[in-house]
């Protein structure tokens, strides 16, 4: 890790230069007839946190509004899917393994964390390979890994499933709720409730899928789009490039995170996803059912699919949506977290009502944590 190189992307002088450029561009836009506030949406939870943490909003001109979209994988997981994940903890002789983010997310009546306190076997792992190792070490126990996340995590899960198959491991399976980013962006672009002037595209996902799959955003919908990194300089550069596109009235998909993202992406990672997973319809919190927006295991890998292997239906409680929770609207960018009537009163990180307040990368948690008012 070359920290001196990476520190450049936190450099205050570089940041100030970009802020000046952004101000000049926004003045140019303000002077044009029919000027309005520009809505720039980020669709990555890590961006939401990075923007809040660096205090970026307060240095931007008033006519540039940053709104958060459906970028937190935990947050977009529908309640019914969470209830099904929790149901897996009720199976006999089963250990549920998960990334840390999922552990506190409330389903209709309980969470993985509460189930663990009640005695269910739930363990946090850092990689699906750790779950596979647990399966090897505990042959009498069924190990279910909770596969949540966008294309950033899907290749790891795909590679783990392939390894499990090659090694003939019988007591390992994945309960998948993997999502694909581009179909959700397509749904957002089509949604007439949301006026998007530009998209800050996710850095991590793009290291895998590259920039090509986003082209439809510029070509079909005319939305300026820039792939961004996570340091202040990265984000300011992406915003500058978006404004330049808006000023010149030309839309394209640009990469402002060249040190990690290439046009073609990571072809090996994409290949392993395609080998193991296939697109299917998924229900997203807030956005509803979106065709082809899930990654589910192909039939050849059915024996590693927890949904096909275990009967979870009878163990899943009826789904109850939390009353008054507006996570759906927050995820669509229609309302800011602080505009929800539960925000900061009935719903706080200590007592979260909806998932956007639970996940460290949820918009509500970020807005609450850094006390952002809109």
């Amino acid at each position: 890790m070359d920290t001196a190189f990476l520190n450049k992307f936190k450099d205050p002088a570089l940041s100030r230069g970009l802020v000046d450029r952004i101000k000049a561009l926004s003045q140019q836009l303000e002077a044009t007839p029919g000027n309005k506030t520009l809505n720039l949406m980020e669709v990555c939870g890590t961006h939401t946190v990075a923007i809040a943490k660096s205090g970026l909003r307060s240095v931007l001109p008033k006519n540039i509004k940053l709104i958060s979209g459906p970028g937190c994988p935990v947050c977009v997981t529908a309640n019914n899917d969470i209830d099904r994940i929790i149901a897996a903890t009720r199976l006999p002789q089963v250990t549920v393994t998960t990334f840390g983010d999922m552990i506190r997310v409330p389903g209709s009546s309980t969470s993985l964390q509460e189930r663990r306190a009640e005695g269910a076997s739930v363990e946090v792992v850092y990689s699906p390979l750790d779950a596979l190792n647990k399966a090897l070490e505990n042959p009498e126990q069924q190990i279910i890994f909770i596969g949540v996340g966008f294309e950033t995590t899907t290749p790891l899960v795909a590679a783990t499933v392939k390894r499990a198959q090659a090694a003939g491991i019988e007591n390992f399976s994945v309960l998948t709720a993997h999502k694909r980013v581009t179909p959700a962006l397509d749904a957002l672009a089509r949604d007439s409730d949301i006026a998007l002037d530009g998209l800050i595209l996710p850095g991590h996902v793009s290291t895998i899928i590259g920039s090509r799959p986003y082209r439809f955003l510029a070509d079909c919908y005319g939305i300026p789009s820039v792939i961004a990194g996570f340091e202040p300089v990265d984000l300011l550069l992406a915003i500058t490039q978006l404004l330049e596109q808006i000023v010149s009235q030309k839309s394209s998909v640009e990469i402002a995170y060249g040190r990690a993202v290439h046009e073609e992406g990571n072809e090996q990672a994409c290949a392993v996803i395609d080998e193991v997973f296939t697109p299917a319809q998924a229900t997203w919190r807030g956005l509803g059912a979106i065709p082809d927006s899930a990654h589910v295991l192909k039939d050849e890998y059915a024996r590693f699919d927890a949904l096909r292997r275990f009967d979870l239906q009878n163990l899943t409680e009826p789904t109850v949506e939390p009353r008054g929770c507006r996570c759906g609207d927050v995820l669509k960018g229609i309302m800011a977290p602080s505009e929800c009537s539960l925000f900061g009163t009935a719903c706080t990180p200590a007592h979260p009502v909806g998932p956007c307040m639970v996940s460290g990368e949820g918009s509500c948690a970020a807005y609450y944590k850094y006390q952002i008012e809109v």
Binding site: V19, V59, G100, D101, G360, K369
Partner: protein
């Protein structure tokens, strides 16, 4: 003696006596401990000074792994309790040590811990004067838990309290942030980084004493352990009815710790420290206090820095109608809240 702890070692009979005599007290014993009476009887001549007071603290240590780069659970118990006493301005003197051992725990490991405990006590200038050993059945403990209580004496006239912080005071931090927290996470999860990171576990009573000598009006000291700097500063803000304003660029952090923390999605201000001290001192004594920290013995304060200041609630930079809490001035020049850790610290998905 068998090679592992068995329930017999906690039964009160001969095995327990042998364990204590041959493995524990023989390693870190002293005249007071070796009397073998149920209670240690301490003569505290310092307490006879009018105005001198006794400081008394307790803490339990349950960390896993038991050994980590830069320390282990035994040494941590000694230094942690010493540092709690040090924050009150006390000279740490005597400790108690209670072990809860799980059946099956290796005696060789206990022996290693006892040796390190003896070295840690010697280094910190304290004596272990009483103790207890219990054994629980296999599966009912995590190998070893240690409770450590301690007493120390506070010199007459010395009053340190979080209530004393006043707007204008300087906030000092004795060194780099987050070394212990990142060490534990990376050891526990088998994550490896290019640059080696190790725990900062260290006894800081001499460092505190040096700062008090240099800055006689020092307001208070805190060791930012669990919950990190964020918990410490927010607590001080609430106690004193002020706000704490930290300059992000002034906070010393090792590059490897920053990198690891960014990668795992942790907040640096939430990471635990075991060898760092926060001092609040009046502005006019800040430079002298900093110098004293930097020059204090063993280099425990060599990376010390003035990281911010205490400000009033109506400080013009702060958001209106703010609460008593801690803020960070970011490198961009913007202000954000330094929030406290909520729940467990969890790594993110992507």
């Amino acid at each position: 003696m068998s090679e592992i702890i068995t329930l017999a070692h906690g039964s009160g009979g001969t095995q327990m006596k042998r364990l204590i005599d041959e493995l524990l007290t023989s390693t870190y014993g002293n005249d007071l401990l070796l009397t073998g009476d149920d209670a240690a009887v301490l003569e505290l001549s310092e307490l006879s000074d009018p105005g001198a007071r006794l400081a008394f603290t307790t803490d339990s240590y349950v960390v896993t792994p038991h050994f980590f780069p830069g320390g282990n659970i035994g040494q941590l118990a000694i230094f942690g309790t010493v540092n709690d006493l040090a924050t009150s301005g006390a000279r740490p003197l005597y400790l108690s040590l209670g072990f809860i051992l799980e059946e099956g725990f290796a005696l060789s490991t206990l022996e290693q811990l006892a040796t390190d405990i003896a070295a840690a006590a010697l280094h910190a200038g304290v004596q272990i004067v009483t103790g207890d050993t219990k054994v629980v059945e296999r599966g009912k403990g995590d190998g070893i838990y240690i409770n450590c209580s301690g007493v120390g004496v506070i010199a007459p006239g010395r009053v340190l309290s979080g209530h004393n912080c006043k707007p204008g005071d300087a906030i000092l931090l004795s060194g780099t942030l987050g070394d212990h927290g990142i060490t534990i996470v990376s050891t526990r999860e088998g994550l490896s980084f290019e640059a080696p990171i190790q725990s900062d576990a260290a006894p800081l009573s001499e460092l505190v004493q040096a700062v008090i000598d240099a800055a006689p009006h020092a307001r208070c000291f805190r060791d930012p352990t669990r919950g990190g700097l964020a918990s410490t500063l927010n607590e001080l803000a609430r106690q004193s009815g002020t706000c704490m304003l930290v300059d992000e660029s002034a906070v010393p952090v090792k590059d490897a710790v920053r990198g690891a923390s960014d990668m795992l999605g942790y907040d640096l201000y939430h990471l635990a420290n075991e060898g760092k001290m926060v001092a609040i001192v009046p502005a006019e004594e800040a430079d002298r206090a900093l110098e004293a920290m930097r020059r204090s013995p063993h280099g425990y304060g060599e990376d010390a820095a003035i990281i911010g200041r205490v400000v009033a609630l109506d400080e013009p930079n702060l958001p209106r109608s703010t609460l008593t809490q801690a803020f960070v001035q970011t490198a961009l020049g913007t202000l954000r809240v330094m929030d406290e850790l909520n729940g467990e610290q969890l790594p993110r998905i992507c």
